[in-house]
Amino acid sequence: MKKEIPILLGLIAAILWYGEFFIAGMFFDNMKMFFSDGMKIGGVVGIMIGAYSVGRQNYFKIKYNNERYYAILRVSMIFLMIFLGWARGTSLGTPFSSVFFNVYIPFQATVFALLAFYIASAAYRSFKAKSIESAVLLIASVFVMLSKITLGEAMWDKIPVIGEWIVDAPSSAGRRAIIFGGYLGMITMMIRIFFGLERSHLSE
């Protein structure tokens, strides 16, 4: 029954969702709300499982001295935020929001900003015209890069036109092929789940 029930649930969900999409008005409105409320409940349960998982992982890290101090710091910060939120609330102007704006946001922004440095270093070392194909890619990328900055337009008014054409025509055509391929794969996967042929999501 451990396998059969999830397969049956997958079959019912597939019939309902795909049927709804192709046969408009198949559900009554309250039925749709039933699904959305169900998803919200599922989401809350997901957050609880996530909290349990984080707690469990860090407990073992602390217990077996596997990067113990990082784990202690991580857990301390979690409890600090919970305490701040519980003591003074989470609205704007509270200690919770102060930590959020002055610690969390700069940290996150810093991590994302580091990408620029890695990209510059990687481009220097690997972006070379070693073949005809890579030379075409290089020239196209230079035009697109220049078209994205205001200097490109100031240098030559045709640069944005060429850059836009590269993005709109060849790049978009390739992208479209990838999108079609992806969606065909998704449809195949749906059919396989529908007939119970695909069981990887059941740990098989």
Partner: protein, 279 residues
């Protein structure tokens, strides 16, 4: 050829330093020599035109689906777009989709805008409303909005007068740095809503096919898109809404030139080496 050897094994810290300087220097007052006029792309202009065509009291739903990670690129667009909506006197519903982390950022930004003299008379729950965050996937969100827009978010306010279902929403904008809004694109053809997106420059080109087919009615791409929107709103209403996107454009220009320079040097070194019979 010591220089060639040095360039070939260039210390990455030098690259990092030059990239850092190229970003920082244009932001220092007096170093605005790299500021050039920006012209609006057709994709960004499409968003602006749709808001311009709305009537007073129409409903705009903003799907704020980004975290502070993408603040630098996306927040300037949100600010310019939100001010534009307030100028047009449309009702603005702000839902913090995808992540609870974006909610604090969005609310703080809205608070700062509402403190501006020209908008201070507008009221929460009447002219704009925060729909907060609920753990719900985008496709479920759309289906719920189709059935009962207000009931989906369980919020109250005068702003909901005349807004019962998704059909009453005149324009939806998704702001994101991820694939969160894919169901909005997929279902646009079915539920006939107007849906545009403001995204980070990394994923912008991926969405061009959807703009070409009309599944997206507008697209703002990265920091430049935000700067274009700031310009469009500022020029139309003769106000100074030029913000961090316009300021950041000169940083963008110089950092692109530095990367371009490194690619050029890398290729020159490669070709000289190849000519000599090296690897």
């Amino acid at each position: 050829m010591k220089i060639l050897e040095k360039l070939k094994d260039l210390d990455r810290r030098i690259i990092y330093l030059l990239v850092f300087l190229s970003i920082i220097i244009p932001l220092i007052p007096g170093f605005d020599f790299l500021k050039f006029p920006v012209s609006a792309s057709k994709e960004t202009k499409a968003i602006f035109d749709q808001i311009e065509n709305l009537k007073e009291g129409d409903a705009v739903h903003i799907d704020f689906a980004f975290t502070p990670t993408q603040k630098a690129e996306l927040l300037p667009f949100f600010e310019a777009f939100y001010k534009h909506c307030l100028k047009k006197k449309v009702k603005v519903f702000i839902y913090y989709a995808a992540s609870v982390n974006g909610m604090g950022l969005g609310k703080e930004t809205v608070k700062n805008i509402m403190n501006m003299d020209e908008f201070s008379h507008l009221k929460a729950g009447v002219d704009y409303i925060h729909m907060d965050y609920i753990p719900i996937m985008a496709n479920i969100q759309i289906f719920s909005m189709v059935s009962d827009y207000k009931g989906t978010f369980k919020k109250e306010g005068k702003i909901f007068e005349g807004v019962e279902t998704l059909e009453d929403i005149d324009f939806i904008l998704g702001i994101t740095g991820s694939g969160w809004h894919q169901p909005f694109i997929d279902m646009q053809i079915r539920f006939h809503y107007k849906f545009a997106m403001a995204v980070t420059a990394v994923i912008g080109p991926e969405l061009i096919p959807y703009y070409q087919t009309g599944q997206l009615t507008g697209l703002s791409n990265g920091l430049r898109g935000a700067a274009e929107y700031e310009k469009l709103v500022s020029e139309k209403y003769e106000v100074n809404y030029y913000g961090s996107a316009t300021k950041g454009l000169s940083s963008l220009t110089l950092s692109h030139l530095v990367v371009f320079g490194f690619v050029l040097i890398g290729n020159i070194v490669y070709f000289i080496e190849r000519k000599r019979g090296g690897k």
